[in-house]
């Protein structure tokens, strides 16, 4: 299957990316250490929180939130892919010992890696649709906020999202477990 885009070397990355990436990681780590979640720490919540913190940062001076969210979506994608890669290798290494948890972790990791690869392909064919996915999924923006950030109408965002979601789902089809019973599919244009 496809190869993931390589993470740019630290020196090549623009300072804003550097800053956002660092803040996201730090905050996520802190939240996790606080252990409040236990169940779920949503990446999107972290993205929004970091925005509140960075809104005044010099790197963002003169730029609006859409600039931040585009960067944050990218950074969050790196973080998730990075984690997934490591998880996969940890899971492979620890193997039998912690059977169930390891399987869980690696399954999760595979999903993220597959999504990342599929998204890279979508980017080639439909760059704007990939951007919609990136904003909505990784940065957690609403339909309205995505529309504003990309300068397109909400109707377009909904349409693009429906298409991109179907496209990605089809690409991921082979690698995904069957959907749980009774879990209604999202209509996509709701």
């Amino acid at each position: 299957m496809g190869e993931f885009p390589e993470e740019p070397a630290a020196g090549d990355r623009p300072p804003l990316f550097e800053r956002v990436y660092g803040e996201l990681r730090r905050l996520a780590q802190r939240r996790l250490e606080e252990g409040l979640g236990g169940t779920s720490l949503q990446a999107t919540a972290v993205v929004h929180e970091v925005w509140l913190k960075l809104a005044e940062a010099p790197e963002l001076e003169g730029k609006d939130s859409s600039h931040y969210y585009a960067t944050a979506a990218q950074a969050m994608r790196w973080i998730l892919v990075d984690r997934a890669r490591r998880r996969r290798s940890t899971a492979l290494a620890s193997g039998v010992e912690d059977g169930l948890a390891a399987a869980d972790a690696s399954g999760d990791a595979e999903e993220v890696l597959a999504l990342d690869a599929a998204l890279a392909r979508l980017e080639t064919a439909f760059p704007r649709k990939a951007a919609v996915v990136s904003h909505r999924y990784f940065a957690g923006l609403s339909v309205e906020a995505t529309a504003e950030a990309l300068g397109i109408s909400t109707a377009t965002v909904k349409r693009e999202w429906a298409f991109a979601r179907a496209w990605l789902l089809r690409e991921l089809g082979g690698t995904l477990p069957a959907p749980p019973e009774g879990d209604a599919p999202e209509s996509g244009d709701s």
Partner: protein
């Protein structure tokens, strides 16, 4: 499959068209295109199939769990199995929480299984851990899980704190156990009495649990089997229930797994469900053994009925606190037929809102439950019991006063620590230590506090919104006052939950100021109107001071503190709290001076200083030496000049200028050797103010009419009449200058006529906007008609006013009584000058109004 650019466009277009279609319509569309573009249709069909295939990774937000074990891969869950820690060989994980882990472990000597709780320290206080462990080790009771030892070890990933506790094989929570075994009510009560006895023991050793809930009352599944095998001997049953996690549960696992709640927020609210009313008040001083008694009542309620005594589902934080504080608990006997009235009464007795009304101790609760088991009359049902308890409690007040809660004000109920009875020096030392540890723990729980802070901030905004709505919907001053009082009380309750987070303090402080500003901010507002605002400003100043202390270089925080102190100074004046007012005024002025002396001085800083000088000077209106007010006003005048020259907004300058002149007039009248008695200054201020008022009306009329603009106009008009006009009238009377008086009164009434006309012409400008000015306008017209000869003008002005009163009376939504009182009060004030128009007097008499 590789598609051309054209294919891609067609795929996209066809998909978009097909997606909203269903059934035959979609088939027709696709079939129509198939002949010409088979590859495109195939592609679209596969996409449509995928679209409908169900949920996927894309349909849930990405989670970040496990980012953690990426950074420390060695610390994967269960990683400690097989290791030896403090002489305990770790066998298997029992449970894993967010902060710590619990393992089953084997102690070699003496040989026994233990539950080993492990906390991976990240800069936590080791000492605190040990203090607690020592206190817990002193507990020795068959129904308290024993603590065998505790310590810390340095490991490769940081320091591990561990505590070895009694291991309960096949443990179930008390509710699970009772349900699994299908225990009847009596068996449940018998089991529960053990928990009460355990708690009573702990209390006598000076340890509060503070986190009692079913998850902390465990029953061994194995033990029970054994007990049944050996026949139904009572003695065997006695050893079943164990209370665990004294003062530890929160540390190890801030979130209760059994709550099964999905989100962080849900989880936090879940832990708050077990809070007592006194914890909801945010007063840690009030926590004592009866807080645990309350928690026992909660668990008993849940054990008997399967639910908590309040409906807390889907509540916001504030609603939850409010429900716990004020909602009457459900009576278990009304929910479950097997629970009789006596048992229900016992539960309710433990759940009383006021600790004074509860059982005095867990032992008393246990005694009453045992009476119930023996079918004896229970104390909870005895007549006059509550009263007797109160008396008894009062006799023991000295004892309770000796209880020191080591908990935290900031994070109510989330911190757990040992509370000790004081009776000797050694213990006194431990108390001090405990309190110090508690301070450290505050930082430790910053995470929880931060989340709470978010919730608090959110709720604060809601309170504010609601208060603003209530206030604008209120028809009378009294109702408005109530709305503000309610909001202040609610915000204060929220403050009790607030940690040290500066951002949250900021949000809450702003909310306090805004609530205070809702009402009674007018310069001439009375004491009754000011009291609630005063409370709100006090809180705001306190919070801003905290923010400002944390960020001494934050100019915005300093400005906000100055503004809060300035408001506070004004409300002190209205409430006749002179000394306090002058102290707050001093603080505001000196802080504001720092602002204007700073290199990056802004117009806001200058404005802040002018306002602070005004407020401080005003305190001396009723307070010696009056001359200090004059000094402040003179300095304020100089700063207004500075502001004018350094680019302050012209309207702001004009507004401040009008106030400066008003104050100068006042001080000159009282203190200066001005032959005019300040008349010229008052006249200037009234003219400036009239201009401002007309401008704010014009601003309202031009463009989108907003509530804020309307309020500005209403306030300007009222101030013009109540403060500016009034002072000029008085000065003119003092000078016995009738011509000046007539000119002033005419100008005022003309402005009122303009306002009245605007109200009549504009549907979006409510009649109520000008009503609070009506009492003043009436008095002025009464004074005016005596001094002008023109009968036509007299009747024009009088009729306009009378018509207004008639309108106001006809409208059910206006409180004529308040208007009348205000009018009569002003009327009286002006009366000594002997200026009472016969016609007005007659008009007043007709209404049976009494001055």
């Amino acid at each position: 499959m590789v598609h051309s650019e054209r294919d891609l466009n067609e795929i996209e277009a066809l998909f978009d068209r097909a997606l909203p279609l269903v059934g035959i319509d979609r088939a027709v569309l696709l079939d129509g295109a198939r002949a010409e573009r088979p590859a495109v249709v195939r592609e679209v069909e596969s996409l449509l199939a995928a679209h409908e295939s169900g949920s996927s990774i894309l349909d849930r937000p990405p989670g970040l769990e496990g980012l953690d074990d990426v950074s420390t891969p060695a610390r994967a869950r269960g990683a400690l199995v097989g290791e030896v820690l403090g002489g305990y060989r770790i066998l298997a994980p029992i449970g894993v929480g967010g902060m710590g882990e619990v393992y089953e472990a084997l102690q070699s000597s003496p040989e026994r299984r233990v539950a080993l709780k492990i906390l991976l320290d990240r800069g936590r206080s080791q000492e605190r851990f040990e203090v607690e462990a020592r206190a817990l080790a002193r507990l020795d009771h068959p129904h308290v899980a024993r603590v065998f030892g505790a310590g810390t070890n340095d490991g490769p990933d940081g320091t591990l704190s561990w505590m070895a506790c009694e291991h309960i094989p096949a443990a179930r929570t008390v509710t699970e156990f009772a349900d699994e075994r299908g225990l009847d009510v009596e068996a449940r009560v018998r089991l529960f009495v053990q928990a009460c006895r355990a708690m009573h023991h702990a209390h006598r050793k000076g340890v509060l649990h503070r986190d009692l809930k079913p998850a902390n009352m465990l029953v061994s599944g194995d033990d029970a089997k054994e007990g049944r095998k050996e026949g139904q001997r009572e003695g065997r049953r006695e050893s079943r229930l164990k209370v665990i996690d004294f003062g530890l549960a929160r540390l190890f696992d801030a979130v209760d797994a059994e709550d099964q709640l999905r989100t962080r927020r849900g989880e936090l609210l879940g832990t708050l469900r077990y809070m007592s009313p006194e914890q909801c008040e945010g007063d840690p001083e009030r926590l004592d053994v009866r807080t645990d008694v309350y928690a026992l009542g909660l668990v008993l309620h849940e054990l008997l009925t399967g639910r908590l005594p309040y409906d807390l589902e889907g509540r916001s934080l504030l609603q939850l606190l409010e429900a716990i504080r004020s909602q009457a608990p459900t009576d278990p006997s009304a929910l479950v037929p097997e629970v009789d009235g006596d048992l229900g009464a016992i539960v309710l007795q433990s759940l009383r809102k006021d600790p004074e009304d509860r059982y005095d101790s867990a032992g008393d609760l246990a005694d009453d439950l045992e009476r119930w088991l023996r079918r004896e009359p229970v104390a909870a049902r005895r007549a006059g019991w509550i009263h007797r308890t109160r008396l008894f409690a009062r006799r023991r007040a000295a004892l309770f006063a000796g209880l020191v809660a080591g908990g935290l004000a900031g994070t109510v109920g989330l911190v757990v620590i040992v509370v000790l009875f004081l009776d000797n020096r050694e213990q006194l030392r431990v108390i001090e230590e405990t309190e110090r540890e508690a301070t450290e723990a505050r930082g430790e729980l910053a995470g929880v506090a931060e989340l709470l802070g978010e919730l608090v901030a959110e709720d604060a905004l809601q309170v504010l919104e609601r208060a603003a709505l209530d206030q604008s919907a209120a028809e009378t001053r009294a109702e408005q006052r109530d709305a503000v009082a309610r909001a202040v009380a609610e915000l204060r309750r929220l403050r009790g939950l607030l940690g040290d987070d500066v951002a949250d303090a900021r949000v809450l402080a702003e909310a306090f100021v805004d609530v205070g500003d809702l009402f009674g901010t007018e310069w001439a507002a009375g004491a009754a109107d000011s009291r609630n605002g005063h409370e709100a400003y006090l809180e705001a100043a306190r919070l801003w001071r905290r923010v400002s202390n944390a960020h001494p270089d934050d100019a915005e925080a300093r400005r906000s503190l100055v503004a809060a102190l300035t408001r506070l100074t004004h409300s002190c004046r209205r409430l006749r709290l002179h000394e306090q007012g002058s102290a707050y005024g001093d603080e505001a002025v000196s802080l504001a001076r720092r602002g204007v002396e700073a290199s990056e001085r802004t117009p806001e800083d200058v404005e802040g200083l002018v306002e602070a000088l005004f407020a401080r000077g005003d305190v001396y209106i009723d307070f010696e030496p009056h001359v200090r007010g004059l000094v402040d006003s003179l300095e304020a005048r100089d700063w207004v000049d500075v502001l004018r020259e350094s680019g302050g907004h012209p309207l702001t300058v004009q507004r401040l200028e009008s106030w400066v002149q008003l104050r100068l007039g006042h001080w000159l009248k009282r203190e200066g050797d001005d032959p005019d008695g300040g008349f010229e200054a008052h006249r200037t201020s009234r003219i400036l103010r009239t201009d401002l008022t007309r401008r704010s009306l014009a601003r309202y009329a031009a463009g989108e009419p907003t509530e804020e603009k309307r309020y500005r106009f209403q306030n300007d008009l009222l101030q013009l009449f109540s403060a500016f006009g009034w002072n000029e009238v008085e000065a003119a009377l003092d000078r016995e200058d009738d011509a000046a008086l007539v000119e002033c009164l005419r100008a005022l009434d003309d402005t009122y006529a303009v306002a009245l006309q605007a109200v009549e012409e504009r549907d979006d400008l409510p009649f109520a906007t000008i009503l609070d000015t009506l009492p003043y306008a009436t008095v002025y017209v009464a004074a005016l008609v005596d001094r002008i000869g023109d009968e036509e003008e007299q009747s024009l002005r009088l009729e306009r006013i009378f018509w207004q009163w008639g309108e106001a009376a006809e409208r059910g939504d206006v409180s004529i009584d308040e208007l009348r009182d205000s009018f009569l009060y002003r009327w009286d004030e002006l009366a000594p000058t002997g200026e009472r128009s016969a016609e007005v007097r007659e008009w007043v008499a007709e209404r049976g109004w009494d001055w």
